[in-house]
Amino acid sequence: MITLRNVTKTYPPDVHALRGVTFHIEPGEFVSIVGSSGSGKTTIAKLLSAEEKPSEGQVIIGEWDISRIPHYQIPTLRRQLGMVFQDYKLLPKKTVFENVAFALEVAGDSSKHIKEIVPQVLKIVGLADKAHRYPRQLSGGEQQRVSIARSLVHRPKIMLADEPTGNLDAVTAREIIELLKRINEFGTTVVLVTHDRDIVNALNRRVITVQKGEVVSDVAKGKYHLG
């Protein structure tokens, strides 16, 4: 499903964010990519969302080769990925409903379909009663739920969550992780990029540890451990 093969990412003039990173993620897995600040884990997230291209090596997502993907095909790729970010990345002038609907509108879905699917997804994330609020009228946890709802409307095969709990308190963070686990149980591959030790340890799933741009461990049922 996701393959990184000898991936190197160098930023000019000579900052090596990643060096020879190789791993493979199977469909339906729940994988945490961990590492301290500056380790290169966010660069991996950016490669997976096609925000960056590798300097060397290959990044394969499904049938897409990110290292060669033409600019005009990136939107199509992103519609097949669910993406959740630390800062939620919601559109501030759109309501909860409109934020979620936007992901379908960009793909040209009909208004009828949007009116059917958006309330269902909002119900899944527990925000059915807040559809007409604006992001500024929601708590951090609620905003992250909107972000998850938006990433779910396309029924993505892969969900990429980059520090989704970074701005949340411990209780809300656990709720968000529970939501991601439920999404994973429905068959979606979840890639969680985080530096939250408690969350990773509680998950007890596969952990890929990145340090100084290199993969230093890849354990099937791992704990958060930085050498």
Partner: protein, 303 residues
């Protein structure tokens, strides 16, 4: 079609949900149009003034007393056939005397000389109006032909010579000055509109990034901003038209009084050219807005 309606909806949402930004952008576009229309009105007024003065400038050809009516008619016919001549009026000897006296009312020497002559020294006269002030020397040359010169006693043109020369120079200065002024304000307006729209797009940079991340294609992101630019231009042009109509209604009597006796016809100018001006201003502002938006959005679409 569905995508188009969505873009219209997004554009309208963008305008009304960012009300103050929309207000400022429309205001700047409106002020741009105020500048353009002010230059336009000044140009119309200047042209009307020049036209009025031009209409009053004329040559009077005084015939030798006793010249037959046929000769006067034939000179008139010859002159009216010249493309440089706008109109020729026949003036009787009495009218010619009255007109001469009136025009030289402040010239004591001429009046004294006139008093010394017994009776009416004038014959019939022709009052000639030229199409353009610079045509007078040509017309004078034309009536100097041997065929007519023996019947023409005097040509009253010298008094106007300086006025005509000054007027021609003034007309040219107003013309080039108007173009220069319009170009200067046009350039300032373009820079202001350019920067205002760039700032407006800059405030949306995070939104553009989010739209890209959820899979929006470039044209889907760009189109609502372009439509917004066209809508801002439309709103500014409509407001300008309404303000202009009120200004014309309330100021035209004052302008007419100021230009006593001169037909300025400012409202007539806008009645005749209003629709063309409306679309020219709307399309002009829209093109400026669209070009600026394309450049500003492109910067944030690169990521």
């Amino acid at each position: 079609m569905r995508a188009f309606f969505r873009m219209i909806t997004f554009a309208l949402q963008g305008i009304f949900r960012n009300f103050w930004l929309s207000f400022v952008t429309t205001s700047v576009l409106f002020l741009t149009l105020v500048t353009i229309n002010a230059v336009l009105v000044l140009n119309v007024l200047a042209n009307a003034s020049i036209r009025a003065i031009e209409d009053r400038v004329q040559i009077e050809l005084y015939f030798v007393p006793g010249t037959s009516e046929d000769v006067v008619k034939s000179v008139r016919g010859y002159l009216i056939g010249l493309p440089q001549v706008k109109d020729v009026t026949t003036v009787s000897a009495d009218e010619a005397l009255a007109s001469f006296t009136e025009r030289h009312a402040n010239d004591a020497e001429i009046l004294a000389a006139l008093n010394e002559v017994s009776g009416n020294p004038f014959g019939d006269a022709l009052r000639v109006q030229a199409e353009h002030p610079e045509d007078f020397p040509f017309i004078l040359e034309a009536v100097n032909s041997p065929e007519f010169s023996e019947y023409i006693k005097d040509k009253d043109y010298a008094d106007y010579q300086t006025v005509i020369e000054q007027l021609s120079a003034f007309t040219e200065r107003v013309y080039w000055g108007g173009i220069g002024l319009a170009a200067f304000f046009g350039l300032i307006s373009i820079l202001i509109v350019f920067n205002t729209i760039r700032v407006a797009i800059y405030t949306h940079r995070d939104e553009i990034a989010v739209m890209k991340l959820v899979g929006a294609k470039d044209w889907f992101i760009r189109a609502p901003f372009l439509l917004e630019a066209i809508m801002y231009a439309f709103a500014a042009t409509v407001i300008m038209t309404i303000v202009l109509m009120f200004a014309l209604f309330s100021l035209e009597p004052l302008i007419t009084r100021f230009f006593a006796g001169v037909s300025v016809n400012l409202s007539q100018f806008y009645v005749e050219n209003g629709i063309a001006l409306f679309f020219a201003q709307w399309i002009g502002l829209s093109l400026l807005g669209v070009a600026t938006t394309m450049m500003a959005v492109r910067k944030f679409l690169k990521t």
